[in-house]
Every structure is written in structure tokens, then in C-alpha cells.
Symmetry: C2
Subunit: 289 residues, 2 copies
């Protein structure tokens, strides 16, 4: 079992993009004993060393992972399972691993059966991304008051879950939700992937870029996330396909209902629905507190 004190641990970060970088800065603030980072870009590693948020840089995981008590895998969904699987012999005895991938079931299904018995892998998803990607934006990526989802595995040590949760709260996150990988993927298809699809469809159906001269905030807010990291989001959409299709269909039905009420000039029914919507959105805001 790991000691509960991050100041005694060597932490490894695999993938020093927006989130990996943000973890490096956060762990530095919490005085982690040593922070090692691995990335395919020598330039990124150099920048991180210059910033002082990592102690040692690696272009490959081989020499790094054996030193780490705790490892954050901050990689795209398409490669994270491969990298963890291929690293299985490299991990330090008793190490704690976690990831940040936006879909969880494919990762849990691929890794749960093959994780070394002495290793604890607690899948996670920090809800703190941004439309701005890359290590150069990591310093501005705030964890303050953000949500974090953990989807612990049956064999995870409770004290490791506790340790990770405490660390997450200390990094600034305000709520940790523990759920199953299945429910995570279902819910995230709604709050995250559906919203990105809607924003993309909204931009797709409007070719006049000067339309923003008619903007009053709504359009800008709805489509900020259309500035997406295309390879990452393509992976997320396709990996969570069934849940996402279900959510799109459900949204289409609500949209069509509103359309019909407008088209038939049904003022009372429209008002009733909008009233329900307003109250529900208010109740949702209460849940965010």
C-alpha cells in the first residue's frame, strides 16, 4: 500500500498534453517528491522542464515506469490501452495507475483481465478539458470546482481509492462521482459527446461566417466547443457509438416535439414545456453547488 503523502511519491505522467501538463503543474504545487514525464515530443518535454513542472523527461516509458509509485496515463483513447498493456512488465511493484480517458468501458474491458495482481489501476475521468489543447495551454487549465469521475474496479484497494480521491480534491476538483464504467459512458454521451455533436451540427448548417455579427452570446456559448480536437473527438464519438446514438435519438425526439408545437402554433403546450425546462435547468444548477 502507498503512503498517503504525495510528498513521498514519485509520480509519472505518460502523455504531456493539456491534461498531462495540468496534472504536472498541480502535482508540483502539492510538492510531489518527483515528477517524471514521458512524451513523444522532445520539444514539449523541454518546455515542461523549462517551466519547472517536471523533474525528469523521457521519450519512452521503459526507463521511467519502474521508478513511479503513481502513474497518470494522459493519452488518447485509441492508444491508452495498448500503452498500459505493453508496459505491464515495467511497473514498479505495488504501483497505482490511473487514466483520464473520456470513455471507460472499452478501457476497463481491455485492461481489467490483464492487470498485474500487485498493480492497482483505478480508471478516472477529470471533467476539466478545454477546446484549447496541448501542453502550452496546460498552465491555464484550471481544476478548480470541476467534476471528476472515478470508475473503480472490483479489486481496487479501498485505501488506494481514498488516496486518489484525496489527491484529486487537493488538486482543486470539487466533486468526485464514483460510478461504473457502463454508467459513466452512458452519462458522458449526454453531457459531453452529444453537446459536441450539437455544436458541430450547428456550425455545419451555417456557411455564412459573418453570422456572428448577429450573435448575442447564445450562439457563441453553444459553439465554443466546435473548436474541437478532431482526432480525439472522432475517437470518443466512435468508441462510445451506441450510447451516443441513443442520446442523439432522444434529443432529436425532444427537438421534433418543440418543432411541431411551434409549427402548429400551440402556445399553451409550448409554454408548459418551456416552464418544465426552466424549472429542471434550475434544479440542475442546484445540483452543481
Amino acid at each position: 500500500m502507498l503512503s498517503l503523502n504525495i510528498e513521498e511519491h514519485t509520480v509519472g505522467i505518460v502523455g504531456l498534453g493539456l491534461m498531462g501538463g495540468a496534472f504536472a503543474y498541480a502535482l508540483r504545487r502539492l510538492s510531489a517528491r518527483r515528477i517524471l514525464a514521458c512524451d513523444i515530443s522532445a520539444q514539449t518535454l523541454k518546455a515542461a522542464q523549462k517551466e519547472g513542472c517536471i523533474d525528469e523527461a523521457f521519450l519512452k516509458t521503459d526507463a521511467m515506469l519502474g521508478q513511479c509509485d503513481l502513474v497518470f496515463f494522459c493519452l488518447n483513447p485509441a492508444i491508452v490501452t495498448h500503452v498500459i498493456r505493453d508496459s505491464m512488465t515495467l511497473f514498479k511493484h505495488g504501483a497505482l495507475l490511473t487514466d483520464i480517458t473520456g470513455i471507460k468501458l472499452p478501457i476497463v474491458q481491455a485492461l481489467e483481465p490483464i492487470i498485474r495482481p500487485d498493480i492497482d489501476f483505478i480508471p478516472g475521468h477529470p471533467m476539466a478539458g478545454s477546446e484549447k489543447g496541448g501542453f502550452e495551454c496546460a498552465k491555464q487549465c484550471s481544476f478548480l470546482n470541476k467534476n471528476y469521475i472515478l470508475t473503480p474496479l472490483a479489486h481496487n484497494k479501498p485505501e488506494h481509492i481514498q488516496f486518489l480521491k484525496q489527491l484529486i480534491y487537493r488538486m482543486g476538483f470539487s466533486r468526485i462521482t464514483e460510478t461504473t464504467a457502463h454508467d459513466h459512458d452512458k452519462n458522458i454521451a449526454f453531457t459531453s459527446q452529444l453537446c459536441h455533436i450539437i455544436a458541430s451540427a450547428l456550425i455545419h448548417c451555417q456557411q455564412n461566417t459573418a453570422i456572428t455579427h448577429f450573435g448575442g452570446g447564445s450562439f457563441e456559448d453553444l459553439t465554443r466547443i466546435a473548436l474541437l480536437n478532431v482526432p480525439l473527438w472522432t475517437e470518443l464519438f466512435l468508441e462510445n457509438r451506441d450510447n451516443l446514438i441513443e442520446q442523439i435519438t432522444c434529443f432529436e425526439q425532444s427537438l421534433d416535439l418543440l418543432k411541431q408545437l411551434i409549427n402548429t402554433n400551440n402556445e399553451p403546450a409550448l409554454k408548459e414545456i418551456l416552464d418544465t425546462v426552466r424549472k429542471r435547468r434550475s434544479a440542475m444548477a442546484e445540483q452543481q453547488r
Copy 2:
């Protein structure tokens, strides 16, 4: 013709809600000679007088309008045409009128034929609303760097348009677009009404209010405007029905295309569209500068 100096004018505000109140504060900052306001709520008028943003308060327009060189009508779409029509004998000779209504064609069609020849009515739409309504939120309603649309009528005096534009810029707005009522309604159906319908549909299709525990910003941004002023937005949706239905249909087609590409796992086509979307959203952001 009006003098170009707001310090020489008596300004009337009919309807002291969020926008009417925001205009009162802005005109006070610009040292308008006198600011008169009319509202059906004595409590609101009292609050405004206490705040010092109006000089005189009226529960009816009768005694007020004859004094005003410039009048802002800040009323819901359903009543604005009636109020202006019923006030036609009351206006001061040579007065300049404007409104803030979110749809323009029905208003222009109703009023253009009956405006007194000595009066100039320049229809307008400040894109500076908020999901928070009422005079009590007016002080926080910022005009800074917001858009303003004017849909001038054929007989508007160019010097009055110039005067109003100068005043709008001095109040903090950064871009004024002049267009026809027809094009305003078409464009606004997209940037404003469609966005509110999407936000409402997104809340309508999700009954679990604790879903916000899975939020990472996208969902919150997309649905902030679902906290809508139900009577106002019902009017806007129904008054601009044809344009809105057209925009919803267009959006549905884009959404369905994305859905089909995800459902058929068509990664190359999906990436191509998302790339286009990203570039177009970027170009739109450039247009906002």
C-alpha cells in the same frame, strides 16, 4: 432634426425591465439631459428613482411621451406595436423612436404605414440580453463589446440613423449591423431562437437533474439559456415561426448526417466534416473581432 448631443435631450424609456433599465443606466453615464421612464410596476419605478438612473417616473405614457426627443420602447413583442400605435398622437413633434424587439418584420409591417410623418422610427435590436430578467438585473447588464442590429426604414433621416449609431457606440456596443427586417429575422432565427430551442430540447430529453455531476462545461454552456423568460421566448418563437422552422429543419439535417456517419463508423467522412466545422468556427471567431 435632433441635435447630435445627448446632453441636450429628454429621453423616454417605455418598459423598465432588464434592457430598459440597462439603457437608463447607460444614458445616465452619458449625461442625457433628462431620463423619463414608464412602467406598469410602481415598485420598479421607485427602485429606479432610488438608483438615480431616471429623473421622473410614469405609470402611463400619456404625460411622458410629449416631453421626449428620443424614446426607447423596451417591451415584449406582443405589445410593442400596440403601444406605439396607441401613442401616435402623443409624441413630441420631430421625435426619434426606436425599439429593442427581437423580431423585426411584424413590427415594421404593422408600424411603417402608420407612423406620423414628422416622427422617425428606427427599429433596433441590441444583442445584449441575458437569462436573468427584470430591472433588478439591469445594472449588471453590460453593453460592452456587444452587437446591435438596426433595420432602418426607407424614410428614416440619415442624420437620425447617424445620431442613434453614435449613441449606441458610446453606450459600449462594438458593432452595429444595418440590415433589412427580413434578413434580421432570418439570421436571428439561427443565432438566437434556434439556440434557445436546442438548449430547451437538451434539458427536455434529460430527466436526471444530477446529470450535472457528469458535466465538464459543455453541457452547462449549452443549456445556460434554457433558464428562459417563458412568455417572452414563446412570443419570439411563434412570431418568427417560419424562419425558425426553416432553421430547425436545416440543423436537423446536419445532426442527422453526423448521426449516420457515427452509426456507420465512417471515420474518414466524420473527420472531414469535423475539420470543416473547426475551421469554420475559427473563421467565425475572426469575424467577431
